[in-house]
């Protein structure tokens, strides 16, 4: 069927060059929807035809209206049902429904009232019960005539009648969608049914050779592939693990979360009163509460070095208690394992070694967006004869180079078990400052010698957390979004590869998530700006013409609001539209205004009525003091007081008229900067700094900086904004630095 129609349409197109679906439906007396269906199936064939969708509005009869065309209007039907002698309402209604079975009570009600008001019928109460009688001998059923005309395709109805009939539900507005067609680039008059896909039968029978196949929609997305994923933190762990392995480090067995205080603290020469050993910072265990077995000789040596010193040390000079050392805890660092490894290394006859580990550690800390009670510590350890601090620095450079970090700096620090100790800083190009990325040092002899390591063996070590670089790498600002059962697993699925060294060279990606946040914030703001632009464009489209504005401003001649005047001039110049400005002086003024005060602005057109003007300004000089008052007629509620507030209002109007960025059309940051400048000016006024010393200094500082800044606000070199126009106008005469003067001349050339 569709195909047959399709060929018919194609043939028609071949003969006529173009076709309209509505026209065809009339021509072939076919339902329009069927034709439309055929057109759509033709469109699926590719470029056989081109079709454009048109929608037209058409008035058509409702079911009720159709009835009127055959049986007459409701009032006519009522009239016709009345016998010459008259009859009761019930009888008439019965009679009417005999004449027309479709005549309902509601229709009858309408019929009675219409017939009455037309004066066709009347009520006769002379014989007791009220009877309806025909008042006129004949009627002309205009309604029926109108509807018949409409049905025949003529549309002569006046707007009033159309509205009335629509209200009476006799006619309705329908939207007709039709296709306007013409032959496409691969036009042909024969159509074959297209197959959706290859089937096994087609392959067996070879019928694929003669079939045509429907084109794929390559713009749609494919079906998601079922798949599994590794966790992002574990991917970063794998990367760090790989780096250590590349550098020849052996992985330590860190699968022991429960540790004794001895290995976690005492072995590391961390005194028993050290704050880290407080219950506030460390998880101690209730069960198993204590460790049973600590190597006796070694423990004795540790005890001695703590309480009395030895190995060249003064010791801490306190009463070391074995009970404290036996307290079990959840290890606070993997260095506890390093201590066990170094002890084992000493027992088995020392050989140089390089160890690493990446595993969980526990801190009884207050939790926040970047801290959890457990996290992963990355640790590297090198033990060899004659290692130096220079070696540690060298190794750290190589290690961080593999992470794509090239610029390092080291700060002296304190750590109970390393001496020297160094905090590792890397330069952050985004923040333009050095940020801490890890800790490092050389283990103290008081830690190593009691283990039995040879005296000339040094042990270098460094550590950092795994979570922090991961949060930086993937841009998390809350660690709970990364670790723990609340993690959104879709995030895990969507997470990219971990290639820490990808940003090498000039575009080093430094580990500070602040910058990541900055970048995300920027991209969000950019998108917001885009949306704002769209919205304002749509608004404008909607409006067609800019909003008209009628404004009354009261200002004191002793404090002429220069910025407001400048902005009004700019507004007037911004659109070549009729503007009317009238300037008055109020009777309460003690002395008359000078001529230039009275003529500071000129109307562009004065012979047009105020109603059609785009902008009407009534300016009244009045002793209002330093804060001018603006009233927007028919617009806002309340007065707008103060020069900055009026300036902001005018800036907004300017933006709405011209679509330029001047104040709030800038991004949020710039807008906030502009507000800051205006607020500073306002503060000067309020805090009684009549000379604007602070503000002027700010302007100098801003402009005198040798960073090429041209305007007060916006990213370098800045963009001209309300702040520039406002401050240059109100403070221009007070500024005298060279750069400020350059700025003033820039400001004046709007």
């Amino acid at each position: 069927m569709a195909i047959a129609h399709g060929e018919k349409i194609l043939k028609y197109l071949e003969e006529n060059g173009k076709a309209n679906s509505l026209r065809l439906s009339e021509l072939w007396n076919e339902d329009h929807q069927k034709i439309v269906g055929t057109v759509k199936s033709l469109l699926c064939l590719g470029d056989v035809i081109e079709a454009e969708l048109h929608s037209t509005v058409k008035w058509d009869l409702t079911e009720e209206g159709k009835q009127v065309t055959t049986h007459g209007s409701h009032e006519a039907q009522v009239y016709n049902a009345i016998p010459p002698s008259g009859s009761t309402q019930t009888e008439i209604m019965t009679q009417a429904s005999i004449l027309n079975a479709g005549f309902t009570k509601d229709m009858a009600k309408v019929g009675f009232s219409k017939a009455m008001s037309l004066g066709w019928i009347a009520v006769d109460k002379s014989s007791g019960a009220p009877k309806f009688i025909q008042k006129v001998s004949s009627i002309q059923d205009v309604v029926q005539e109108h509807l018949k005309e409409l049905a025949s395709g003529k549309n002569m109805l006046t707007n009033e009648l159309r509205t009335e009939y629509k209200k009476r539900k006799l006619i309705q507005e329908i939207i007709v969608k039709s296709y306007e067609m013409k032959p496409g680039s691969s036009f042909s008059t024969s159509v074959t049914k297209q197959e959706t896909d290859l089937t096994p039968e087609m392959i067996t029978s070879g019928s694929w050779k003669t079939k045509e196949f429907k084109a794929y929609n390559l713009n749609a997305l494919g079906t998601p592939v079922p798949r599994g994923h590794l966790h992002p933190l574990m991917k970063v762990r794998a990367e760090f693990r790989q780096i250590f392995l590349e550098m020849g480090f052996t992985e330590m067995p860190t699968n022991n979360y429960v540790e004794s205080s001895f290995w976690n603290f005492d072995a590391l020469f961390q005194p028993q009163q050290h704050p880290a050993r407080d219950a506030h910072d460390t998880f101690f265990l209730a069960d198993p509460a204590t460790a049973s077995d600590i190597p006796t000789d070694y423990m004795e040596r540790v005890k001695n070095v703590h309480s009395h010193g030895g190995y060249g040390s003064q010791g801490y000079g306190y009463d070391w208690k074995v009970e404290e050392a036996k307290k079990n805890l959840l290890r606070t660092h993997t260095t506890a394992v390093s201590a066990r490894m170094l002890y084992a290394l000493a027992q088995g006859g020392f050989k140089p070694a390089k160890y690493f580990s990446i595993d969980r550690v526990f801190r009884n800390e207050t939790l926040d967006a970047t801290h959890l009670a457990e996290f992963h510590q990355i640790e590297g350890v090198i033990a060899d004869y004659g290692l130096t601090l220079g070696n540690l620095i060298g190794v750290l450079y190589e290690f961080f180079r593999k992470l794509g970090i090239e610029k390092l700096r080291f700060k002296p620090a304190y750590n109970p078990y390393t001496e020297p100790s160094m905090e590792i800083f890397s330069y952050h190009p985004g923040l333009k400052k050095w940020v801490e990325i890890g800790n490092s040092g050389i283990f103290r002899p008081e830690m190593l010698l009691p283990m039995g390591l040879p005296e000339d063996v040094s042990v270098l070590a460094w550590g950092l957390s795994l979570e922090r670089p991961t949060m930086i790498k993937y841009g998390y600002d809350n660690i709970r979004d990364l670790v723990g059962p609340k993690v959104n697993m879709q995030m895990v699925a969507d997470n990219p590869l971990c290639r820490l060294d990808k940003h090498r060279g000039t575009e080093i990606k430094e580990p500070d998530y602040l910058q990541e946040l900055d970048i995300r914030m920027d991209s969000i703001l950019t998108r917001l700006r885009g949306i704002e632009n769209e919205v304002s464009k749509l608004k404008k489209k909607d409006k067609g013409s800019p909003e008209k504005l009628t404004l009354v401003i009261e200002a004191d001649p002793n404090y002429p609001p220069l910025s407001v005047q400048t902005l009004i001039r700019i507004l007037m110049a911004s659109r070549n539209a009729p503007v009317s400005v009238t300037i008055h002086q109020h009777s309460s003024l003690k002395k008359a205004c000078s001529a230039d005060l009275m003529q500071w602005a000129k109307s562009t057109i004065s012979n047009v009525s105020r109603v059609d003007n785009l902008f009407n300004l009534t300016w009244i000089w009045k002793p209002v003091g330093p804060r001018p008052v603006a009233k927007v007629v028919n617009h806002y509620n309340g007065d707008i007081c103060g020069e900055t507030a009026v300036a902001r209002l005018l800036a907004r109007i300017l933006e709405s008229w011209t679509d330029c960025a001047f104040y709030e059309n800038y991004d949020l940051n710039t807008t906030a900067e502009i507000d800051d400048w205006l607020d500073m000016w306002e503060n000067c006024i309020q805090s009684g700094d009549p000379n604007f010393v602070v503000l002027i200094n700010h302007i100098y500082n801003r402009l005198n900086c040798s960073d090429g800044r041209k305007w007060l606000t916006g990213v370098l070199p800045g963009t001209k904004s309300l702040a520039d126009v406002f401050l240059s106008t109100v403070l221009g005469h007070k500024l005298n630095s060279d750069r400020a003067k350059e700025w003033l001349s820039r400001c004046n050339s709007f």
């Binding site: 590794l230 574990m234 067995p253 198993p288 140089p352 060899d384 004659g386 002296p412």
Partner: protein
């Protein structure tokens, strides 16, 4: 790391030089301290209490500086300035001296009653001192900093300072019952007994933290003069009577302690920092301490130590190559006055302010700092080693890859959880679980170390119910179990756990994955269970009856799989069938 607040203008005037913020920050970095924040009283009050309260507060710039925890000598303006000036080579290190009393030395008699509560006391006198408001404030601040850090919130050491001219030695340090101690404490207008003071200060935001140090003891420590005037009740409060003021000329300092070494360090630090304001600069008058055993010891010790340090060893440790005299200069700049002593050795003087120097390695570090960490040539160690992975981690990672390839997604959950998570919610009594219990958890979430990975995965499902079904998660990680064989009484156990959550239980799918894992591990199916692996039906309260089996490998149970019990499902706020497998990884190594 302690943070001190220093008035910038006072600091610069003491240093005799104005720095820009960047310059000072740079100096701090090199010296090993950190300029943490630049603020003012006004800004601080503004931030904490709002605009109104900040009206009228001082706008003078305050530098907040982080000091390494072992540098007690830098905790006040006086010490910081001295350290920096010496570091910059602008001044030498002053010679501190203990001088005898011109009459009879002050004596503090320690009674044996203190042994049970706070057995040690030391003392010293600063003679003819002259305070102004700034130095007086600094004196008080330093005591506070020492109390918070070295004194471990007064538990190890408590400092009391008194106007010597208001009291009469000798002084007695004893421990008395709380009701027999009665005096007018600092800043109060009437007398209180010690018991009353405990109540009075129970709500004091500052002092209440120190009450527990002595509160439950039958006797409280107290220091009185020979007339019975109470100087202090350490570690809580001093007496009003002997309060020091700007007009005080002679200061009696006592430190009571549970750690004598620390008490001596505190006393040394305090007198070294403030003896500069004495008429006879850098001198401290001796005090005699009669110990509870009856012997007499003199304080402050102010010991200056001499160490012989091998220059070659310094060069070797730091990785530099400097001449002895140059190294001596570097050390002198760190307040460790050093001279070349021959034989390639330096004679290094460790002053009483540098109690942090306890080993030659501390001296090496100061050389490195003075030389500049960032001036040290970076070299690579020649240590040649062959890397190796920890076999258990290697196997775990290989299995993780395979599970992800099988379409499961990795979760990463916490090692700590609530007792309920591993017991009630899994329908098992807590007593049956060899779990490790934390004694001081701050929240319920940290009560125990997990004994199974299942609760974490079920919580992960609960948090991800909005994702399209089926949910397929896994985790390969450690659980912790009590184990008496281990020195600490517990061990980690590497587990592999996976869950399948869908409208149908999917037992066969989880079973299939187990088969796949065994295939990867080259372990054959062996229903006899002696060499390969097999499944044995079992009862496990966590699983639905008749829908649960043990995984048996080489004769031992190494895991369990099955359909979770509906009550387990609902206790984790879930409502669909769920299958799970938990396997011990270690037997497959």
């Amino acid at each position: 790391m302690p943070t001190i607040s220093i008035n910038r203008d006072l600091l610069f005037s003491a240093l005799g030089k104005c720095y820009s913020e960047e310059e000072f920050d740079e100096l701090c970095f090199k010296f090993g301290i950190e300029l943490d924040e630049v603020t003012s009283d006004k800004l601080i009050i503004l931030k904490e209490q709002g605009t109104e309260r900040s009206e009228g507060a001082s706008e003078e710039v305050i530098y907040k500086i982080d000091i390494p925890a072992n540098r007690y000598d830098l905790l006040c303006l006086e010490g910081l300035v001295q350290g920096l000036q010496v570091f910059l080579g602008e001044t030498g290190f002053p010679p501190f001296k203990v001088i005898p009393s011109q009459t009879v030395p002050q004596r503090l008699i320690v009674k044996s009653s203190t042994c049970s509560i706070r057995p040690y006391a030391v003392a010293a006198v600063l003679r003819n001192i002259h305070f102004d408001q700034n130095t007086f404030n600094s004196f008080i601040d330093l005591q506070d900093k020492l109390h918070q850090n070295l004194c471990r919130k007064r538990s190890l050491v408590a400092i009391g300072t008194h106007d010597l001219d208001t009291v009469q030695g000798p002084f007695y340090y004893e421990a008395l019952s709380p009701d027999s101690i009665k005096f007018q404490p600092l800043n109060q207008t009437k007398e209180f007994t010690a018991s009353q003071l405990m109540d009075l200060y129970a709500t004091d935001s500052h002092l209440r933290h120190y009450l527990p140090i002595i509160k439950d003891s039958p006797v409280y420590p107290v220091i009185k003069d020979s007339n019975g005037v109470v100087l202090s009740m350490p570690p809580i409060i001093n007496g009003e009577h002997s309060k020091i003021t700007l007009k005080t000329r002679n200061v009696f300092i006592e430190c009571t302690a549970t750690d004598l070494t620390k008490a001596s360090i505190v006393l040394d630090t305090l007198v070294c920092m403030f003896s500069r304001y004495c008429q006879d600069q850098f001198t401290v008058e001796i005090c005699e301490i009669e110990t509870s055993q009856g012997g007499i010891k003199n304080y402050p010790i102010l010991k200056t130590r001499q160490e012989k340090i091998d220059v070659n060893k310094i060069n070797r440790m730091v990785g530099i190559n400097e001449q002895a005299d140059k190294v001596a200069d570097l050390l002198t700049r760190m307040c460790l006055t050093a001279t070349v002593a021959g034989n390639g050795c330096l004679s290094v003087t460790i002053p009483p302010t540098r109690h942090d120097i306890i080993h030659a390695c501390d001296v090496y570090e100061d050389v490195a700092i003075a030389f500049g960490y960032n001036n040290i040539e970076k070299t690579l160690p020649s240590t040649n080693t062959i890397a190796a992975q920890f076999p258990l981690n290697k196997l775990s990672d290989q299995l993780r890859d395979q599970l992800a390839q099988a379409g499961f997604t990795e979760a990463l959950t916490f090692s700590l959880c609530s007792k309920e998570d591993i017991s009630d919610k899994l329908r098992k009594p807590l007593s049956s679980i060899p779990a490790v219990h934390v004694s001081n958890p701050k929240t319920l979430e940290f009560q125990v170390a997990r004994s199974t990975l299942l609760p974490g995965l079920l919580k992960t499902i609960a948090a991800n119910r909005k994702l399209p079904l089926p949910l397929k998660f896994f985790e390969v990680s450690d659980v912790v179990l009590k184990d008496r064989q281990r020195d600490v009484g517990a061990r980690n156990c590497r587990k592999l756990c996976l869950v399948y959550y869908n409208k149908s239980p999917g037992f066969e799918l989880v079973h299939g994955l187990l088969d796949r894992l065994m295939q990867l591990l080259e372990i054959p199916l062996d229903p006899t269970g002696t060499t390969g692996y097999s499944l044995k039906a079992c009862d496990d309260a966590t699983f639905f009856p008749g829908r649960c089996a043990h995984v048996v490998f080489a004769g031992a149970t190494v895991g369990v799989l099955g359909v979770l019990h509906p009550e387990v499902v609902t206790s984790f706020d879930l409502n669909l069938p769920c299958s799970a497998l938990e396997l011990n990884v270690e037997p497959f190594l």
